[in-house]
């Protein structure tokens, strides 16, 4: 997909004005958070689980080289093959190379954020290979020619009527809004394709270093079909997916479904250790695991931001975020939206290409509370804001697409320092503060409408470029106090005693 992270402001404004999107989001997100909260509440040891998961991920990150080596050795000992991709381009080349060497024309795909990250589908198509998404939500957005808008619910932005239109238009089936009907259409269409495909492609939720096992969570069954029917199974995973042992797996297996969909476990969890054994009935003859760096080691090199590598991609912070709840995923401009996306996107694409994202947060902390592995996302956003304010933009290493870096960043920093110094002078003087308040009121009242200021002329328009500003009261509190409360009493409350 195109990287549109630099157009966040325009995209956000468009999302807010998009009535069907607002309806779909309101409907879909209303329950998501409470369901997850109820699932967490069932575990009296939820906080203990979070702490253990955090400690375990810390352990993995601190020894990532060691664990990756162990994982790769185990996969190979079980008859699998391990590939290492430093960049998205290398990962695409590895996957396409595997497919073309075996004459694969059709690839069935399990839902995989890593696949979106490396933008695999267009590359497959360019190589004459047809990719088909097996997950219902991914299948819907693929038919619509759109990127997914949520980590775990890719078609969250579409209402059933829009999906019915889409199936009618693209698949030529009768137009029917009944979701049961829509599910059956997808099932029937996809079943045949699973049998035909020469390659099954999946991501992985976790990778167990001790046993070389990849772990796949899903509810539909399509991922296991993709990992079973075609004779070649390729799994792409970020190098941060490692957990040390099966015992550690239990911790994250409890957290991920609860935080993500409020389930105790997903309907299916598959632990895959190597290709089919000679005496087994089915399964692929070949298993290839592709380990993807693509900016993760760069993130690792930042001792503060590396905390984000703990992320298990559950989407809980998205559902909790007041900004995401208003915008949906597409406005963020890349595959990782919401609070954690605002941390990971600049880290993976380069801060200069996503400089607005760390600012798309109220720092309210709802994401931190929701995060099952206790990533302090607001702290990371502040860290990135600091980096963006202080550092000249660095060129992104291997970023897909091509967007110009934000110019004038150093100048912006200087202006900001001046503005803060100016504000500090005003705030220190009651007289100046009073005066500026009066000026602002006199200035804002004429340009307001129905209690809101929607537009302020430059250079004071930073706020209203993408937000409305509530009109201040006609009278300041100090003035009101003087006129009303001040009459019968002393000239004001005495705070000094």
């Amino acid at each position: 997909m195109d990287v549109a992270t630099h157009r966040f402001r325009e995209n956000a404004a468009a999302a807010l004005a998009d009535e069907p999107l607002q309806q779909a989001l309101a409907k879909a997100l209303r329950q998501a958070e409470s369901v997850a909260a109820a699932a967490a509440a069932e575990r009296a040891d939820w906080e203990d689980l979070r702490a253990r998961a955090r400690a375990m991920k810390e352990e993995v990150i601190d020894h990532l080289d060691w664990y990756l080596d162990q994982f790769a050795a185990q996969v190979e000992a079980r008859g699998g093959t391990v590939h290492w991709a430093r960049t998205a381009a290398e990962a695409r080349a590895i996957v396409i190379g595997l497919a073309t060497a075996r004459g694969v024309r059709l690839v069935v795909k399990g839902k995989s954020m890593a696949s979106e990250e490396i933008d695999l589908n267009p590359a497959l198509e360019a190589a004459g290979i047809r990719p088909v998404e097996g997950d219902l939500g991914e299948y819907i957005v693929q038919l619509a020619g759109q990127p997914p808008s949520h980590l775990t619910t890719p078609a969250i932005h579409l209402a059933r009527g829009q999906i019915a239109d889409l199936f009618h238009r693209v698949l030529g089936v009768e137009r029917n809004e009944d979701p049961d009907y829509l599910c059956q259409v997808a099932r029937q269409t996809l079943r045949g394709l699973f049998r035909e495909a020469g390659m099954g492609f999946t991501g992985a939720n976790f990778a167990v270093a001790e046993t070389g096992t990849i772990v796949l969570h899903e509810n539909e069954g399509n991922i296991r079909l993709a990992a079973t029917l075609p004779r070649l199974h390729v799994a792409l995973l970020g190098i941060e997916k490692i957990v040390p042992s099966l015992t550690d797996l239990a911790v994250v297996m409890r957290l991920l479904p609860r935080a993500s969909t409020g389930q105790r476990l997903t309907a299916y969890t598959s632990w895959i250790t190597g290709p089919r054994r000679p005496d087994e009935d089915d399964g692929p003859d070949e298993l290839h695991v592709v380990l993807l760096d693509n900016g993760r080691t760069r993130l690792l090199a930042d001792p503060v931001a590396r905390d984000a590598l703990r992320c298990i991609r559950c989407g809980a912070c998205l559902n909790a975020c007041p900004v995401f709840r208003m915008l949906g995923g597409h406005a963020y401009g890349w595959i990782l939206p919401g609070p954690i996306g605002s941390v990971l996107t600049p880290a993976l694409l380069g801060t200069d290409r996503a400089a607005d994202l760390p600012f798309a947060s109220t720092l309210c902390g709802a994401c931190r509370d929701a995060c099952p592995v206790r990533i302090d996302i607001p702290a990371l956003l502040l860290h990135l804001r600091h980096l963006i304010a202080e550092l000249p933009p660095a060129p992104a290493a291997d970023a897909p697409g091509g967007t110009p870096p934000v110019p004038l960043a150093p100048l912006r920093g200087a202006l900001e320092r001046f503005a803060v110094a100016f504000a500090s002078r005003i705030l220190r003087s009651p007289w100046l503060f009073n005066l500026s308040g009066r000026m602002a009121r006199a200035f804002l009242w004429p340009i307001s409408r129905a209690g809101w200021v929607r537009w302020i002329p430059p250079p004071f328009n930073a706020w209203t470029r993408c937000r409305d500003f509530p009109l201040p009261a006609r009278q300041s509190f100090r003035r009101w106090w003087k006129e009303n409360a001040g009459a019968g009493e002393a000239s004001g409350p005495d705070f000094t005693e």
Partner: protein, 222 residues
């Protein structure tokens, strides 16, 4: 191979300053056992019902036969495949299905007569479970000769036979029991099945039976 070294070197460089922990991981982290929820079979029944699974009990091969017969007649099943693990064989599952005239050959391997129905033609499927996890209402299936990875996804109705001694309370206990088969590399796929195939991809509304079975029956025998 160069890429492998490049990535591992990049990791080592990133972690070098300062390397936060010892070079070799500490294997002895404290792992407090997770407190168990309500125990055993009762908990399984409760959670399995929440997941929209159907639960039943049978004390003998005859009762298993009666339960299967009821299913076949109420649901109008015509083609049912049953795997041939020792537990199912003891319960005469295949004999019952043959007697009812609904047994069909394995869709995975041509049988003695060379028959090989397409999995899509099956109405139902009977298998065993390798373990049952009470706290999450989970049926564990290990791919093995005669019961492949695909087996449990094939038909719209999946009937699973298990015995009470296969029930463990927690995921941790299940992992302790399954770990050796995974670690030794004996089996390529373990699947934890918690309820029928489902999706909430359309307007976050729940729908059952997307790619896998829409009906899941657990039958405790013995």
């Amino acid at each position: 191979m160069d890429n492998r070294r490049a990535i591992l070197d990049a990791i080592r460089a990133a972690l070098k300053d300062p390397r936060p922990q010892a070079l070799v991981p500490h294997r002895e982290r404290p792992r407090p056992p997770a407190p168990a929820l309500a125990k055993g079979l009762d908990r399984f029944r409760e959670v399995f019902a929440e997941l929209q699974g159907q639960y039943a009990e049978a004390r003998s091969a005859a009762e298993v036969g009666a339960a299967l017969e009821r299913l076949v007649s109420t649901r109008g099943l015509r083609r049912v495949f049953a795997t041939d693990t020792p537990r199912l064989a003891r319960m005469n599952v295949r004999e019952t299905l043959r007697r009812l005239g609904v047994f069909c050959a394995s869709p995975y391997r041509p049988d003695e007569a060379g028959a090989h129905p397409r999995p899509a033609d099956l109405d139902a499927l009977v298998t065993g479970a390798d373990l049952v996890i009470a706290e999450s209402g989970t049926l564990v299936h290990v791919a093995k000769p005669g019961e492949g990875r695909m087996t449990t996804l094939t038909a719209p109705l999946h009937v699973v036979l298990f015995t009470a001694d296969q029930v463990v309370d927690t995921l941790e206990e299940a992992i302790a029991r399954l770990g050796p088969a995974v670690a030794s590399g004996e089996r390529s796929c373990v699947t934890l099945i918690s309820g029928p195939s489902r999706t909430a991809d359309i307007e976050k509304q729940l729908f059952i039976g997307v790619h896998g079975p829409g009906a899941l029956h657990a039958l405790r025998v013995g």
